[in-house]
Symmetry: C3
Subunit: 340 residues, 3 copies
């Protein structure tokens, strides 16, 4: 598909600098782009490539325009404009609606005719799949679960019984939504499973990464609000609530009953203890351990950067003496104060 | 289903305080319960809800009884009594025994007629599935594996060849039991896989969470003893042994050949180095890195709580100088000692 | 299968010490071996077992020979010789080529007749499976993906559209290769997905563990070079490149666009920030957080060993004062310098 830069600008409501008739056929990174390519600049670090790029046009901010030697589309939000340009330029192969003959679908499930149920999928009793959904190969929708309009399960996704997924969600391969929460009561030395009677409720436009796990609630539901984005291999414990538009990077774990506010940004491999409350607009950098509730918006950190092994070993050995070191310092301070 | 509090008390072997004829129809959390609800108190933090709860009855300890204004069941272990009350009140839909027509089952597999093999499951040669098992949709039991009486695989579980699962186990979606262990021999710059000849042996009443991985042993077996509870996204390396009734929270990783004792409690995102021994009754709090064997029961920690980003940055910068700081302190102490 | 030690020595190009006619029937660990067993010694820690082992022969280095009281094969690399001995002694059951009748295979897919497509697998349009491949039960190869000669997908592996897997690779159960990368543009409070137009390219002899995730690139490809070994539950973000023969242990996460060199060794639960460069021959010990590029080969650490809980608590409390402690020390030093 080829369009002119002007057509693209019109679609994106942006203004063109340079040749409105430049033909755009595809997208490419600044440093690898050739004629016909649309590129974009969102990271100042790559501004130097503006001087040498072969792209026919670049989406960039007004600030970066003076450095640009090719045609450009000026955007207040180049990343977002780029998203939309790609959607306009690159068309995904359409999904054929219908139920694949190898799928096993209960006669009491309600599948909208515009939706697809892929090969080897299993759809149990009383499941509802609304219009325009795409349930990929090998997915399993357990009894009573619901999939809102336009939602897409890539492949091998597990949706537990009575789980509700909103509209326009996208769930990657292997995600497990609605497994039993991890709750046990002691019985002498042994542990007895506490029945998990809640479910999982997922809002609209939620994205869930590959092999991420969200457990069903114990008595109430685990809740993922609208617009939440979860990366791969994340663990969400039972009764957790994640507020709207919060984004969480991979390998992070959130223990049971913790409530996270809206518009938070949580880095990778963060561990959040159970039964906490984290308010809205909190940023937690990668690898932090959050052991206490956070009541004020702001940036919080807990990851310790690595070092050369020999120095690291010496410093960690001292860490084991840190309280003693502090006491010795205090003793010294007192003795000097007395002296003076 | 509705029963009287007295009937419930009799079933649970507990004594009633208040109205023995109160009708119980369901369970609910203290702060959301209304008439007909049974609730429970296991966490002192929620004791304040006893004053206002609408529950018809509450399971609690004798200590909490004075604060309770509704009917109550007194239990030495309210959490366990609650478990059992729920099992009595809430009946799960029964599983239909039989092999789903879409499942692929070897003619040499022995499936007990009281067990279910779900849709799209694959059961290979010489597999044994004992009575009362439930093999959910999309599970795969490789050749020679065994599933003990009453065990349940939720969905898409992988059970490798010759793996043995005991009785009354429950394994959540996507768990991978019996993948090849991660063992390689150097061959110049390259690595050559060391064949993994062992398998995985899992005891009775073991629970394994979603997408958790347990690798098969290199020469001997990886062993998970009776009553072990593993949360989601846990990694168990080859030749690991986990002792009876040990419970491990999500995202934890245990490297190869480590032996963990019985009745341990290991928090989330803990990393345990390989070839260690951890004795019985050890508690390891969340996010610890265990780099040495632990020979004495007790509580061990290693997670560093997060802080405001600016302060965290200053402190981690100082951490890189910690050994030097300790040396400077020592110099000061010496010089002052000399002076005095 | 029984062979003489001499036959084995000839196959492995090693020299025999002791009885060349000893009959070898199986392999076993040193401390559990009985007559007929071949054992091996690669870890000095177990040298003491040489005195008492019942093995008929042991593969070991020349250094360890003086301690050995049984027959031996002398190897400059006992682990590698052991690998090859096992391959010689233990034959895996052969895989029957052909497409299982329950598999769903597109008529436009090219499956070599020597390859197997297992039960319940799904193979989409234009997929290419070269000779000698084994696609296990429940795997899903999306449109346009390719599997090189001799590669093996254990079970339930997801291979995204247009992903290229090289020769002689082995991918464990539940791995998700080619899910959408985690990239979003802000749109007010909400996030909009950035289309991920790249794919994943995997070299030859790569091994990928259970439930490990490798995301497809945003514009360019995510690349895993020849001979890379990835353990279970690893997260590889979009546009990452991992150099040849690098080996990475379980639960590690690598954020987007980071480039890792060749011949690196990365421990378990390591977190690597995005957009970094790590040069060749870097060793990163378990649990490190890598927050900056590494330009020099060497060993780097970042994991803090756990401690008794009470002492740990005191030391972490002091850590929050570390910058202040360092300042107080500096003040003391200055005041003493002035005095003297």
């Amino acid at each position: 598909m080829a369009i002119t830069l002007e057509q693209l600008a019109e679609h994106l409501h942006l203004s063109v600098f340079g040749s409105a008739w430049a033909e755009i056929t595809h997208v490419a990174p600044l440093d690898k782009a050739s004629s016909g390519a649309l590129s974009f600049l969102t990271n100042r670090h790559y501004r130097r490539f503006l001087a040498t790029t072969g792209a026919s046009a670049v989406i960039l901010s007004a600030d970066d325009l003076p450095f640009c030697r090719t045609s450009a589309l000026i955007s207040p939000n180049p990343a977002l404009s780029y998203c939309r340009a790609v959607r306009f330029l690159v068309t995904e192969p359409p999904t054929e609606p219908g139920i694949h003959p190898s799928a096993v679908v209960s006669s009491t499930a309600a599948i909208h005719p515009s939706s697809r149920i892929g090969a080897q999928a299993v759809v149990e009793d009383r499941v509802v799949v609304e219009a325009g959904c795409d349930v990929g190969p090998g997915c399993y929708l357990a009894r009573g679960s619901r999939l809102g309009r336009g939602s897409r399960l890539l492949a091998r996704v597990f949706i537990g019984h009575d789980v509700v997924v909103g509209r326009d969600c996208q769930i990657q391969a292997g995600a497990a939504i609605g497994g039993e929460g991890f709750g046990f009561a002691r019985d002498g030395e042994a542990w007895e499973r506490i029945p998990q009677l809640g479910t999982v409720r997922i809002g609209d436009r939620v994205e869930i990464g590959s092999n991420t796990c969200i457990d069903r609630g114990a008595l109430e539901d685990t809740v993922i609000e609208d617009g939440v984005k979860l990366d791969n291999l994340i663990q969400v414990g039972h009764n957790v609530r994640i507020g709207a538009h919060t984004i969480i990077a991979g390998n992070t774990g959130i223990a049971g009953s913790t409530k996270i506010g809206s518009c938070c940004q949580i880095g990778g491999m963060v561990g959040i203890v159970g039964h906490l409350e984290i308010t809205d607009h909190v940023i937690i950098t990668g690898r932090s351990m959050v052991a206490h509730s956070i009541h004020a918006p702001g940036v919080y950190s807990g990851g310790m950067p690595s070092d050369q092994a020999a120095r690291w070993r010496r410093n960690t050995a001292r860490f084991r003496q840190l309280d003693e070191i502090a006491s010795r310092l205090h003793t010294l301070e007192k003795s000097l104060k007395k002296d003076s």
